[in-house]
């Protein structure tokens, strides 16, 4: 939990956002998003996957989490 709060607190200092309509209410948005694909869409990327080439995935465990999570969500 501490790790989530650390990240959220830091983001609040680095991201300024305004939302309208559903994104200001039920489907709240916070100014920055990230890819977390479903298992089926992850399967579509087989043979074409260049996501791991991005700097964020070179610098962190994010790609490995996404890969593991996609397989986890198939059940």
């Amino acid at each position: 939990m501490i790790k989530v709060y650390d990240l959220v607190y830091t983001l609040l200092n680095n991201v300024y956002y305004e939302d309208t309509g559903k994104y200001a209410n039920t489907n709240k948005a916070y100014g920055v998003s990230i890819l977390i694909p479903t298992y089926s869409s992850w399967q579509n990327y087989n043979g074409y996957d260049q996501y791991n080439l991005l700097k964020i995935n070179q610098d962190t465990y994010w790609y490995y989490f996404v890969q593991r999570f996609a397989y986890y969500t198939q059940y």
């Binding site: 990240l7 869409s41 260049q50 700097k55 610098d59």
Partner: protein, 373 residues
């Protein structure tokens, strides 16, 4: 500003008998500081006036002939630097062409001033919108003010053949041309087109293509776009030539305000402005945001980024479901990166119970894509 010096040698040799002795060298001084030297009779110097304060400055040349005579010429000039260069990469080479025409006309409702310079690289497509002569190549415009909401009347700088807006070199050359010929203290670059997030792409299976700025006149769909790695290559290449960074990038395109983009472009700009969600076809309200900029041209990049977000909110509030934000990049983003790295590692190492919790959260978060589910 380009300074050109051409010395006509009318000096005589010391005995005043044998005619001009020839130019040995020329020195160019700005405010008594030597900035260039030439051993020929002429020189050309590109003066980056934005690095000097507004006001009066002295340009002086010292020319030396081959027998020791020195000629000095000095002139005073008044520098009034532009505050902002507003570069718009207006890719209308697709089904958004009519909105591109509209936005160009919105920009013309404000136009450039002596403090704000608006430069637009506008690529069109055959078909779709047939107005304004239905030209379908690419043109470079210096945007000037007019009250005609339908017709483009700005100054045409260059009339190209077709340009590939998905080519890194097209973007790089546009930035270099703008920042070299329309120098200003600060620069904002607008990407105008479809947007679709980041890699991965799987065009042969589900037609998912991830990037910005599709050029439909260029073969190879859906790969004929600028992916985020191509953009940073263009930004860095341009910076090597101009020596200046783009202060803010505004993404007038769908689905681009992502962690992955911010990470990739961290050192390409200081403020990344854009939308997590779909951007309506009308896009930014250029009249309002440029009006605000011209009313307060000394805005800092931070203030301008906030203005773009606030103007977007004001335009769509009560009309549509939208998001808009800015992310501080540059070295400031290092803190976000370090916190995110810890977070990502913790997620990767989660046990089965924690994964179940993560899946539950994932099922309830806001989803912005349009093709994957």
């Amino acid at each position: 500003m380009t300074i050109s010096v051409n010395i006509v040698d009318r000096s005589l040799t010391k005995d005043n008998q044998r005619g001009p002795s020839g130019i040995n060298k020329i020195e160019l001084y700005i405010d008594m500081t030597k900035v260039m030297e030439s051993t020929t009779s002429s020189l050309t110097y590109v003066w980056a006036t934005e690095q000097y304060k507004d006001g009066y400055h002295t340009i002086m040349t010292k020319s030396y002939d081959n027998v020791g005579n020195v000629g000095i010429v000095s002139v005073g000039v008044r520098v009034v630097n532009a505050e902002w260069l507003f570069l718009v990469y207006l890719d209308g080479d697709n089904d958004l062409e009519k909105f591109a025409i509209q936005d160009m006309n919105e920009m013309e409702m404000v136009g450039s001033t002596n403090k704000i310079k608006i430069l637009v690289l506008f690529d069109r497509i055959p078909g779709y919108d047939t107005s304004n002569g239905d030209w379908n190549n690419a043109r470079l415009y210096y945007v000037t003010k007019d009250y005609d909401a339908n017709n483009i009347n700005s100054v045409l700088i260059k009339d190209y053949n077709e340009l590939d807006m998905s080519d890194t070199n097209t973007l790089k050359d546009f930035i270099i041309y703008g920042m070299t010929n329309y120098s200003a203290k600060k620069a904002c670059l607008v990407f105008w087109n479809h947007g679709d997030g980041v890699y991965p792409r799987s065009p042969s299976k589900d037609d998912v293509q991830r990037g910005i700025a599709w050029d439909n006149t260029t073969p190879g769909y859906p790969w004929n776009c600028l992916t985020i790695d191509k953009v940073i290559i263009a930004l860095e290449s341009a910076r090597q030539v101009t020596g200046k960074k783009i202060d803010a990038i505004n993404m007038d395109a769908c689905l681009t305000q992502m962690f992955e983009v911010a990470w990739e472009w961290q050192y390409g700009t200081d403020y990344l402005v854009g939308s997590e969600a779909i951007v309506p076809g009308y896009g930014n309200d250029y009249y309002t945001l440029l009006y605000h900029l011209t009313q307060n041209p000394t805005m800092t990049p931070s203030q301008f980024a906030k203005t773009i977000v606030d103007d977007y909110y004001a335009f769509y509030n009560g009309k549509d479901d939208t998001t808009y934000s800015y992310i501080k990049l540059g070295s400031t983003f290092d803190t976000v990166k370090s916190k995110f790295a810890v977070f990502a590692k913790a997620l990767y190492e989660a046990d089965d119970n924690q994964m179940a919790i993560i899946k539950n959260v994932w099922n309830n978060v806001t989803y912005f894509d349009k093709t994957e589910l």
